[in-house]
Symmetry: C2
């Protein structure tokens, strides 16, 4: 029965942690992203400020938890998206992803633009794909395109390249809203179309293989 006690402990801890995340979420909704402070959060749940640190390593950790929630919602939204043609399904990933990033710049930033990148306990990238469900969907849809003969090459490499461009696009649109990209959505579409068209014209080698020239 020692294990069951352990488990109960863990469950209680997990519950309090989610309570904290929920409170943080509400706080952000009410007072904005920078309105979230440890002291306010602690007061919300009736704890002392330092007690929060029993559940999160630091403030960034809380922001990451919030962002992860948001990214899971994104993944769900992507998967719900109608996907008749595999190429359209792939493009839908990128446009949904972009819409999410532009609509949730704070969450996007905490995941992709901070120095403290948190890979939760495990050190491998496997964990990152686990923590970033959108990436899994992306790879799956790339594989569908490869299977349908619309794309050719290593699916992970293709997905990574798409991710790179998608991230570059979103990230610049977020950071330099005044730069004359034209309509943000149009620019996203442009990059999306450009990438799919260009990728379909080549056989993309896996990431481990170095292209020699340049």
């Amino acid at each position: 029965m020692t294990l069951s006690v352990q488990k109960r402990r863990e469950k209680q801890k997990a519950e309090l942690r989610s309570e904290l995340v929920a409170a943080a979420h509400k706080l952000v909704q009410e007072e904005g992203y920078e309105g979230l402070t440890i002291r306010k959060l602690a007061k919300r749940v009736g704890y002392a400020p330092m007690s929060v640190y029993s559940y999160f390593a630091d403030k960034q950790d809380i922001l990451f938890a919030l962002a992860e929630d948001a990214f899971e919602t994104l993944a769900r939204r992507i998967e719900e998206h109608p996907a008749d043609d595999p190429v359209e399904a792939l493009k839908a990933v990128m446009t949904e992803y972009a819409a999410f990033g532009l609509g949730n710049p704070n969450e996007y930033r905490t995941v992709f633009m901070t120095e403290k990148t948190r890979l939760p306990e495990g050190r491998s990238y496997e964990d990152m794909e686990e923590g970033n469900p959108a990436m899994k969907v992306l790879i799956k849809r790339v594989e569908a395109c490869v299977a349908a003969g619309k794309l050719k090459g290593d699916p992970r490499a293709i997905a990574t390249m798409l991710w790179t461009v998608g991230h570059g696009t979103i990230s610049l649109l977020i950071t330099f809203p005044f730069y004359p990209f034209g309509d943000p959505e149009a620019y996203v579409k442009r990059m999306c179309n450009f990438m799919v068209a260009s990728l379909s014209a080549q056989d993309i080698p896996p990431l481990t293989e170095t292209p020699v020239d340049c």
Copy 2:
């Protein structure tokens, strides 16, 4: 003679500002990026902490000043780069840029990955190209490629797309060093080659024109 007095004032102020930047630079070199604090910086130049705020709006402003210095060095390095073939010259911009970003992740982050994007006084993107000299070189070399018939379309649009991909590449490599991109330089080369090859296969419309499909 009122003007000359004004000017002397301004010059003195500018001098003190650069002295602060220099001190900040030394501080960062000696104690690392997070070792730079307002109090330490003030002590270095023999001022009270709050006096720093007569020369910089806030701490970010100091970091931006440091980063701008670094980016000017980058632009100089790029322009010094041998450039016989226009396409090679263009690729050199991207690889130098990437090398800079990977070698100076902190400076890169303060310019491209923070929320407080500072456009110094003017509100137009013209100022941004002024402040980011690397972009000017990029556009110039794209124009050379277009003139040589190696690329086709609107130079600014092509440059912006290259910038987008370059930024995405660097930014992901900085944020997720553990992700299996393979060798960072190889991945940079891959994206660089891919983009130049793909762009040369199309006629790129200006940014204001929306592609219809997707």
